[in-house]
């Protein structure tokens, strides 16, 4: 418990010192840090007096049998109405300021289209190259268990250049899905008939999970994909090269029942 709390504190504060690993994660962490310390302060302000009162004013026969006759105090009511109001306005405004940065993609982003379907993802790059990931590509059919990203076949991974902002246009073919990259702390639903936008940027090469976060049926939990973040020259080689396996034939999505 104590270690976990320390971890939380570290997660909130340590990030400021090292280099920025991903966007919009950096803005998200600013908000989380502010919230965390405000919450700890409020918790202490409420919990310490209440525990103190619980101990001090417990029922003791012949010493403390009846509570005092206090019906209230208008001044203190006003104080603890106004101060929380100021706190929530501050929190709301702070999150608003970060939210603007989280939603506004920088100039010169690489734009990719993500189409979700039951149950998989299609990534389309500006030159028309497409990558498909199906729910059965991220799992081991023998053991019926997830594969870790290093075991997933490279043809099912969406390559992403490191250090470059990526702007994603999301939509869906059948039901609502949700595109979520945990390391970038970004989520946006893919809604049929709508195009939603999000952006992220990874500065460190690696392999990161994409999960679906909107319930979409049987294999909702397997509807994962892997983002392979590689240096930009390698990405360009991959994007321009034609040595890739052809994309598997598109599965017809289940039409919504008429």
């Amino acid at each position: 418990m104590r270690n976990l709390l320390l971890l939380l504190l570290l997660a909130g504060t340590a990030m400021a010192k090292e280099e920025i690993f991903a966007y919009p994660r950096a803005f998200w962490e600013n908000s989380v840090t502010v919230w965390f310390w405000v919450a700890v302060a409020i918790y202490i302000v409420v919990a310490v007096p209440s525990i103190y009162f619980m101990v001090k004013y417990r029922y003791r026969p012949k010493e403390n049998e009846e509570g005092a006759h206090i019906e209230g105090n208008t001044a203190i009511e006003i104080v603890w109405t106004v101060i929380p109001t100021i706190i929530v306005l501050f929190l709301g405004t702070y999150s608003f300021a970060n939210f603007v940065k989280q939603r506004k993609a920088p100039e010169g982003s690489l734009e990719i289209k993500v189409t979700a379907f039951m149950w998989g993802w299609e990534f389309e790059y500006p030159n028309g190259k497409k990558v498909y990931t199906f729910f059965n590509q991220v799992a081991d059919p023998e053991k019926n268990i997830y594969l870790m990203p290093d075991k997933v076949d490279d043809s099912a991974k969406a390559y992403i250049p490191a250090g470059k902002p990526i702007k994603v246009y999301c939509t869906s073919r059948d039901v609502i899905h949700s595109f979520f990259v945990h390391e970038a702390r970004v989520t946006e639903d893919c809604v049929p008939g709508r195009i939603t936008k999000l952006w992220f940027q990874f500065n460190k090469p690696g392999e990161y999970w994409v999960f679906c976060r909107e319930y979409c049926g049987t294999w909702h939990s397997r509807m994962a994909s892997v983002l392979k973040v590689v240096p930009e020259d390698e990405f360009n080689k991959w994007l321009g090269g034609d040595a890739q396996q052809p994309a598997p034939a598109e599965q017809p999505a289940q039409p919504v029942q008429q």
Binding site: M1, R25, F27, W28, S31, V32, W35, A47, S50, F53, M54, Y57, Y59, R60, E66, G67, A68, H69, I70, E71, E77, T81, P84, V88, L89, L91, G92, Y94, S95, F96, N98, F99, Q102, K143, I145, Y146, M148, D174, V175, I176, S178, F180, H182, R185, V186, T187, V191, P192, G193, C212, R213, E214, T218, W219, H220, S221, A224, Q254, V256, Q257
Partner: protein, 549 residues
């Protein structure tokens, strides 16, 4: 008034089965509601344990059966756990069970305003309960989750939409009837001398909850009716291929389903107020602001529904606006918590089971409320939306603060309802097990959502060692909590044959304690019509009304 002719003396629970089935008496109806809610609480709790065991290890452990995958069974169990815990336990135990039994007693009325409507509302709820039990049959598994988002719920993968719609509609009929009944009762049936400032805070909470039900339920009914016509009759409200909008469903659903969480938690606040005041021998601090805070929460609760849709593709300006309104809910809830703490100042606190459950509930609500702030802050929500953090948060507030409030209320009014005293030792043991287990489980759940990013509603997850470890810790917590809940149930059953309780065991000036026999008689009060002294107040401990009235 259409009240059956009852004997002037005896106990409220009568003797024959026919009396119970054809009853219009608010106490019997309340008890029917209450027993149904408890049964479904146990069923949904077992569903929750199935979920916990499924998540204890990566891979899908649940067996596939009847041509369905194991993941389908998980999704059904998840739907059952969500829908039943929310509608059958969290809402019904208050608006059905506690409210029906206690509100007429607290306001000095002989019965509710519309006794037959009350009975009708129970039996339509009972019909919905039977339909819920029908979903246990394979082939009837509803797998759309309790939210039933379109367009997924129009897909064949989601199970029988029509059954879901019928359940919700029957439930809505019952809710509407019950809330109309409660509002009318509180407005028009208060005894002479009981003004709006002399009502128990629990009654204020039920009033606010019933108002929310009255204004919110039509929206839910509308959303599921449109869903029904979309799937079966060829309309296109939600079908984007033909000009519909999937987000419309979410707006309609959350316009009711967000305020409904205040239906669930406000009566728990009411119970906290009753118990704290009684066990502290002290009037509640700032009665007027407590009552106003209840109505303020109910009002602001209607302006916050978009926070469930922060990542669903609504425009950015709307997200910011609703981020502010959602944060404003913290102000009235904060007032309530500060007032409870202030009530403890210079009190004389008796630590019995009901009081411990109330403390536990308030502390759980404090943690749950503080972890609700990041969900309301839209910039943080982009990273934790639909993660286990959310699940942990609402289990802290709805799962635990509410259940602690309900258990506190059960222990508090148990003597009045049954005429027997329960075992304090077992009750305290149950409390500590529940508190420790729930905190272990839900704290690590929140940690997992925030730091590890595990999404909700996943039977399966990548075999990352930390994830497996965290999930197993949660399972241990869930088991500890289950044992605690089981001990409480054993306690209640065993105590039905316990020692006889006095008329006013806690010494409260509130009407349901000070003016009735234990157990309550068929006519509710020792003396009808009820009259209270001019300076009486349900929390007037300093005037000695709790010892003689």
């Amino acid at each position: 008034m259409a009240v059956a002719h009852l004997p002037p003396s005896g106990t409220w629970y009568g003797a024959t089965l026919k009396e119970w089935i054809f009853t219009t008496d608010h106490k019997k109806v309340g008890m029917l509601y209450f027993i149904t809610a408890l049964v479904f609480f146990v069923v949904a709790g077992l569903f929750g344990l199935i979920i916990r065991f499924e998540q204890s290890a990566p891979g899908i452990q649940l067996p596939g059966m009847f041509g369905q995958e194991g993941a389908d069974l998980y999704n059904y169990v998840l739907t059952g756990h969500g829908a039943v815990m929310l509608l059958w336990w969290a809402v019904t135990v208050w608006t059905g069970g506690f409210a029906n039994f206690l509100v007429p007693l607290m306001i000095g009325a002989r019965d509710v305003a519309f006794p037959r409507l009350n009975a009708f509302s129970y039996w339509s709820f009972f019909g919905a309960s039977l339909l819920v039990l029908l979903t246990l049959i394979p082939g009837n598994w509803i797998k759309m989750l309790w939210t039933g988002y379109a367009p997924y719920s129009m897909n064949d993968n989601a199970g029988p939409t029509s059954l879901y719609v019928l359940i919700v509609l029957l439930y809505s009929v019952s809710s509407t009837a019950g809330s109309v009944n409660m509002i009318t009762t509180i407005v028009s049936m208060r005894a002479k001398g009981i003004g709006w400032t002399k009502l128990n805070l629990f009654v204020h909470a039920i009033m606010a909850a019933s108002l929310i039900q009255l204004f919110g339920v039509p929206s839910l009914m509308g959303s599921v009716i449109l869903l029904f016509t979309d799937k079966y009759l060829g309309t296109n409200f939600y079908n984007p291929m033909l000009g519909g909008d999937p987000l419309l469903y979410q707006h309609l659903l959350w316009f009711y389903s967000h305020p409904v969480v205040y239906v669930m938690i406000l009566p728990a606040f009411g119970v906290f107020s009753e118990v704290i005041s009684t066990m502290s021998r002290k009037p509640i601090f700032g009665y007027i602001s407590m009552a106003l805070a209840i109505y303020a929460i109910a009002f602001v609760g209607f302006e916050t529904w978009v926070h469930h849709m922060f990542v669903s593709g609504v425009p950015d300006w709307l997200r910011v606006l609703f981020s502010y309104t959602t944060l404003f809910v913290a102000v009235p809830t904060g007032i309530k918590i500060f007032n409870w703490v202030a009530t403890l100042h210079r009190a004389a606190i008796r630590y019995n089971t009901a009081m411990l459950f109330t403390f536990g509930g308030i502390l759980m609500f404090l943690i749950g409320g503080l972890t609700g702030i990041p969900n309301a802050m839209v910039s943080i929500d982009l990273g934790i939306s639909d993660s286990l953090f959310i699940v942990g948060h609402f289990h802290y507030v709805l799962g635990m603060a509410l259940t602690f409030g309900a258990f506190s209320g059960i222990y508090y009014w148990y003597p009045k309802v049954t005429g027997r005293m329960f075992s304090e030792g077992l009750g305290k043991l149950s409390f500590w097990l529940m508190l420790i287990g729930a905190n272990i489980m839900f704290f690590f759940q929140m940690y997992m959502g925030m730091a590890e990013g595990m999404p909700r509603r996943y039977p399966d997850y990548p075999p990352i060692p930390e994830w497996v470890q965290l999930m197993q810790i949660q399972t241990v917590g869930a088991l500890i909590m289950s044992v605690g809940i089981l001990i409480s149930f054993i306690n209640w059953f065993k105590s039905l044959k316990g020692p006889k309780a006095p008329d006013n065991p806690w010494g409260s000036p509130s009407l349901e304690w000070s003016m009735t026999t234990t157990p309550v008689g068929p006519n509710n009060f020792k003396k009808l019509p009820v009259e209270v002294p001019d300076d009486w107040h349900p929390y007037a401990y300093y005037k000695g009304y709790h010892t003689h009235i």
